[in-house]
Symmetry: D2
Subunit: 139 residues, 4 copies
């Protein structure tokens, strides 16, 4: 199982009046972690789009364990949780600079044609990428 670790810059605009990071921002962090994982294993989401496909989110889950505050260092760890012919699920952990777990989550994705949003089989259209995910996924 391969885990990608990405440091996130926490901005002031990400905070809310509770003094913590507003919860919706974690989904942007997951996206940043996912993008880096894809690059680290040799692929590119922008290339997928140039080829005429995109990969919308089907499902998200986040469990918040500990608030993140402005000034904290934040890291997101991303891995491939499940990999099917049609759907890919990424797993995420958000930790702070003391390596305390702040949040856990997952996002499930399909691949669709950009022009009509019809789902395609990731396995058939991107077979090498799919096999790479088989190799690095959680076991």
């Amino acid at each position: 199982m391969y885990i990608s670790t990405k440091e996130i810059q926490v901005t002031y605009g990400d905070t809310d009046m509770m003094g913590i990071i507003y919860h919706a921002n974690y989904l942007r962090w997951f996206e940043m972690g996912r993008t880096q994982l894809i690059e680290e294993v040799g692929y590119s989401y922008p290339e997928m789009e140039k080829a005429g496909f995109c990969s919308p989110v089907l499902k998200v889950e986040i469990t918040f364990k500990k608030p993140v505050r402005y000034g904290d260092r934040v890291f997101v760890r991303t891995w491939v949780e499940e990999n099917h012919g049609l759907r890919t699920t990424y797993g995420y952990e958000v930790v702070n600079g003391k390596d305390e777990l702040c949040a856990l989550g997952s996002t499930q994705h399909i691949v669709v044609r950009k022009d009509n949003f019809k789902p395609i089989r990731f396995l058939n259209y991107f077979p090498e990428w799919f096999r790479k995910y088989e190799e690095i996924k959680k076991k």
Copy 2:
């Protein structure tokens, strides 16, 4: 079971380059729905904050059924899914102007003191609000 319906204004800034609403924005819509539900049943989140408490999110789940596009009308329907002494779960549906289901979700919340983020029992500190939720919750 009481369901609050709130119309959301979809803005251009909420879209992404797939031409659909970026998924993280649904969490802001859920917040808008939740706030309106609270007001409709006679309470006020800003008043809770003035009293020294706030209500962070513990858990979120969203399942996306159909993309929302710029120019679509969007409504979020919000209800109380579960109501315990310590935790409240809200349920949400996002529908478009043709009443097609676009997303389903839930958010789970606790109530904490603003100064130290220690959880308190919603039931003990806001007993009338809690009873109102008992009355309107999903059965």
Copy 3:
């Protein structure tokens, strides 16, 4: 001079840890005001996009006069400040529920082809819309 008034719903996610609305959000409010002004005078930005054009921002200016807080009512007033063959400038005022001026601003736009981002003359491609702006603009 025609002024469009749009009520904005202030969300918790729009606040920052100063307890006020984060400044970048005013640009989204300006967009909401601008969209409503366009609709009120009989046109539609989504229709412009369907016709193969879009209208990126060339310049923005905002002066902040008074903080907006969560729980405040907020209104944005929008008008056409200047209207040239190539560039349109909108003016904005943000006021709170006591009609106190919270911010002033402007955004300047061009119209470009969606496929290549080449500027076109608003006057030539949308002559009626242009004339409507001549009629309602600031004098």
Copy 4:
């Protein structure tokens, strides 16, 4: 004149349906550049907040020269444009990976007490920080 250069990670959520970065996001990038400049010259915005002050924005200006797209590398260069006893103005340039100028801008700030939002003189309360800005500012 000291110029701080910060690389920004462009995320998918920052794009809009024109396929470019939504204009309001540049203000978050300016904030990231400003924060890094402050750190590089030996100060800390989070420390200012812990001392009971914060620094709201009075005025912003942005001129957009060239769209930024998902997949582009983006750098923001930040400097102190003006430094008065009461107001500090930062200047910004956004450039892409080919060092093409994508946007120019400025933000003007005051320092206020967090509890009552009354302005204080930056010069009197943070004299060393102020002198550092005198040293590094645009001449």
